[in-house]
Structures are given as C-alpha cells and as structure tokens.
Amino acid sequence: MITLLQNFIDAVSLGSLYALTALGVGLLFGVLRLINFAHANFITIGAYAIIVPSTNAIATLYIGAWHWAVMSTAVVVIVVALAVVTEFIVFRPLRRADPPTLLVASFALAYALQYITLLIYDGRPKAVDIGSNLAEQVMVGELRIPKLEILTIAVTLALIVSLALFLKRTRYGIQIRAAAEDFRMARLLGVRANTVIAVAFALSGVLAAAVSLLFLARTGMLAPRMGLPLVLIAFVATVIGGMGSLVGAAVGGFVVGFASVVLQVVLPVEIRQFRDAFVYLLVIAILLWRPAGLIQVRAITERV
C-alpha cells in the first residue's frame, strides 16, 4: 500500500511536469495551429539563464544565487521575453503560412536556438546546485515524500488554476479562447490578432520557465538538449489529449506521466531501459483507438 502511494505521488509529480509542458505547447497550438518545437529551447534557456554565460565546464551561479523568489521572477521574465521576441521575429512574418510550414519553421528555430545555446555555454552538461534542500523528505505517516515533489505538484496546481482563471475571467483570456475557437470570426469581432498571439506566447513562456526550474531542481544538470525529451512527451500528450484542447493537453500530460511510472514499476528489469519506447507505443495505441484524441475539439476538424 505504501509503495503504491509512493508510486502514485511519483506519477503525479512527473505527470505535472509533462502537463505543464503540454499546456505551454497546447496553448500555442490552440491559437496558432503551431506545434512549437522551440518550447524545448524556452525550457533549456530558462534553465541556463541562472548561470553566468561562459563555455567553462564549471557553472557559476548568477541569477541562481539570488533569493528564490527573485530568481524565479527573473527566469520567468527572461523566458517570456524570449518567447515574445521569437514570436515577433519568426512567427509574425509567417502569419499567413499553413500549419506544416509553421511546424518546419519552429523546427528550424529550435535548431538555431539549440546551437546558439551550445555556442554560448558549450555542449558539455554542467552540474548546478539549486534547491538542494528540496531533496529532503517529508514524512507523512510512513510515506516519504521529497519536498521537490510536493513543490512540483503545488506549483502545477497553482499554475493550472491561475491559467484557467485567466482564460475564463480576463479580457485577454476570453480573446484567446475565442481565437482558438475561430480565429477569423474573433478578428471580425474586434480581437487583435497580434495582441492575442503575443499574450499566448507570453503565457507559454511562463509555463516553460516554471518547467525549467522544476526540472532543473530535479536533475541538477544543465544540458543544451535538456528541454527536448519533455517537449517530445508534451507533443504526444497534446495529441492523445486531443489537439487544440487545453484540458486535453493537461490530461494527456498526466496520462503519459502515469504510464511512465506504471511501466517503470511493472516492466521486467531487463527491458526497463526501453520504457520510453513503450510509452510512445502506448501513444500510437491510444491513437488507433481514438484517432482524434481523448477529448475531441469540434473547431479543429476542417469544415467545408
């Protein structure tokens, strides 16, 4: 029973990271029909932002040495700025492009950003020490829960709730949802496309920044491709959740998180290293069963 609960908490915390990433990806997909590969770079650059830029093998903390609240704010600001700037430079000129072109553009952007990161910081992974006190465990009855897992789950809950409130209650939130439903109609009714898209990019930047810090605290290691596995998982999470649905993206994230932990537990040791392959196979299986994802969105199916 205890191990079951332990695994459950692992699953929720891993699923939280996936869900946050998937929400960031899903937000832009909803509004722009853009699958943003560069989200991986947002996460990576957010993590690298806490050290002094250099190619040295030893990382020196800069922003990371500040008080945690200031550090988090700084990282959020940096990643949001990056997200908005890429929107302005790359995606605004491509406003009329079709989804496959956008997809390729974001792939190219991700490739360029990844090698820029490599040029500035060098390709070798660097160990950093942030939030090492988060590794401590809290005893709840006989359960040992690392503080980091509690923090991850709490931050995710807070972000999901505030995102939901933002989308439901505020003017820009309502505009984003309107744009996701039918962009052209929304524009006819006076929604400003550039503003809505910029806000969506900024929001995905906030989510990416949160993932940067939580993931970095988990691994303690900076690497130029660190955001990639998360974003690949997030892509499949948005697909199995149902493309274009934010609830679907979050659900998809948790589904994949749970599947990973369950597979980790039930797979025999000798094939455990293939776990991720099974996760992706599961994704294909879900798609066979429900080609439009778990939560279907009417706006996404093309009308004649």
Partner: protein, 343 residues
Amino acid sequence: MAGASPLERIWPVIALWALLLVIVALAELFGGGILNRVVTDALVKVVVVVGLYIFVGNSGVMSFGSISFMAIGAYASVWQTCCPKLKPINMSGLPDFLRYNTFDLFPSAVSSVVFATILAAIIGFPIMRLSGIAASIATFAVLAIVNVVYGNWDRVTLGTNSVVGIPRYVDMWVALGCAAITIAAAYAYQCSRSGRSLRAARQDEVAAKAVGVNVPRERLIAWTISAAFIGLGGVLYAHNIGVITINNFYLDMTFITLAMLVIGGMKSLAGAVIGVVALATLQELLRQVELGFVVGGLSIKSPPGVQEVVIGIVMLLILVLRPGGLTGGREFSWPSPKRRPRS
C-alpha cells in the same frame, strides 16, 4: 500531359540526372579526394531527401520519423556484412545466422531495404489514418521509439556506441547510380494514379475524399515507398562512412534532410534535388570557414556550431521570403518556346 512526346514526359528526370552527372563529372575531373567525399555524401543525401519527398512532398504531411528507416536500413546491412570477428562476442543478441555469418554486399543491401520497407508498412498502417498534424507528431513518436530501442539494445546494436569497420563500397558512382534510380522512382510514383490522388488530397483533402480518394491508403503507399528509399539511403550512408551510431540518425539528420527538402521546395522533385545541392554546398562553405581561411592577411575562423546556426537562419529566411522553396514547386520543364500551363 496528353500529346507530350515520351522524351518530354520524362524530361524532369533526365534534367536532374544530367545535373547530377555534370556535378560528378566535374568532381572526377577537377576534384581531389575531399571533393569526391563531399559529392558522395551529397548524393547519399539525394537518395534520402528524394525518398523523404516521395511521402512529404506528395502528401503534404511533414514526417519527422522517416530517418528511422535510415537507421533500420543501415543497421540491417551492418548486421549482415560487418565485423565477422566482433559480432559473435559483442552482438550476442543477434540471431545465429547473422551472428556467425557474413553475407555478400549486394544481397545484404537488398534485404536491408526490404526489411525497412516491411517495418514501414507495419508502422505506417496506424499512423497514416491520423490527420496531418497529428500524423506528424506520431511520426515523431516513431523516431523516438527507434532511437530508444536501437540506443539501448546493447547486445544487438552496441547501444549508442559506434559500430566501426563497416565495409566501404559506396563511391561517387555507386551513389550516383542509386540517386538516379531514386529520382526515377519518385517521378514514376508522382505520375502514377496513387501519386496523383495523393497530390490532390494534399491540395484539398475534403474535395479529394469527395471524388473517392482513399487518403489513408494512398498515404500508406507513399510512406512505404518513401521508407524503402530512405532505407537504401541508410545502407549507402553506412557503407560510405564506414562508422555508424544510432545518434547519426536522430534529430540533426531529420533536421538537415527536412531543411534540404524545404529549401529546395518540398512540392517538386526538382526541389528535393536542388535543395540537397544548395544546402550541401552551403554546408561545405561553412565548414571551410570553420576550419579557418585567410583574407588579406587576416585569418578568419568561426567557432564550431556557427554552421548549424546559419543553416537554421537560412531555412527560416527561405520560409518567410520564399515559402515555395528555391524551385517554387516547379519541375524542370521541357525547354519549349510556348509555355504550357503547369499541371
């Protein structure tokens, strides 16, 4: 194209053959060993990118998973032809007939391509039922699966370690021959009934369905043929370089080949070939800059990594400024004074 003469009909293929032949001939006449290798590499890329074009160009669905079949083809050929001393010890997971035998190069290449093709047909069956963007993501899952499996299956693939000592038989002329065959096959497919149906669905899926095109079926046909040639590209890659690791066939290769296709123009066969020629030339120039050169007593040298950043930016510029790619989706058409409307 009714009423066109046979030569006129196959002109787009002839023109591309001629282009590649001229490049190879020039390299043979004036180039040294290095230029030969650059041209051979580029011709192997032609096989892969034209293979990619058969699916992506005709269907309009981006594939991020096709490079998996390069890995599958490459490893399949390596298992059959490489390392008779090493295999019994290090690749203990191989079935005995592979572990203790070495096969001839040509039949191995053929069987490797067949292996990649069969796997592609099986993998493609569920994926091709998905809509465009979801299918693209699912192809990504394929890339990830193949990377995880080959990267961890130590007893069969040596994991992420390099396999070395692969017999190297692919020279410029072998690569040219394979590129020529791939180009002809791609053109034959795009002119076939299936190819034309698929291109119709690319333009307007709903309308194509309305006139009876079975989109998933045509996509699966294109995907499978495409994977066959990408598998061939993998075989050539392994026997050209002589060393492979699974990470040769992951995101960077996916990116470069897609970049070639997009820069050339993904809607035409000519675009696929021109894209390889253009980007391979750019890569080589940037590599020279990375190695360093001297201009007017000033030595210029760029740090490693600049090459990739420049290619990423060039690709973005092409997407913004010339979304149809260099060729704008046109084939090389018969040089005739009166312009016929494009089909």
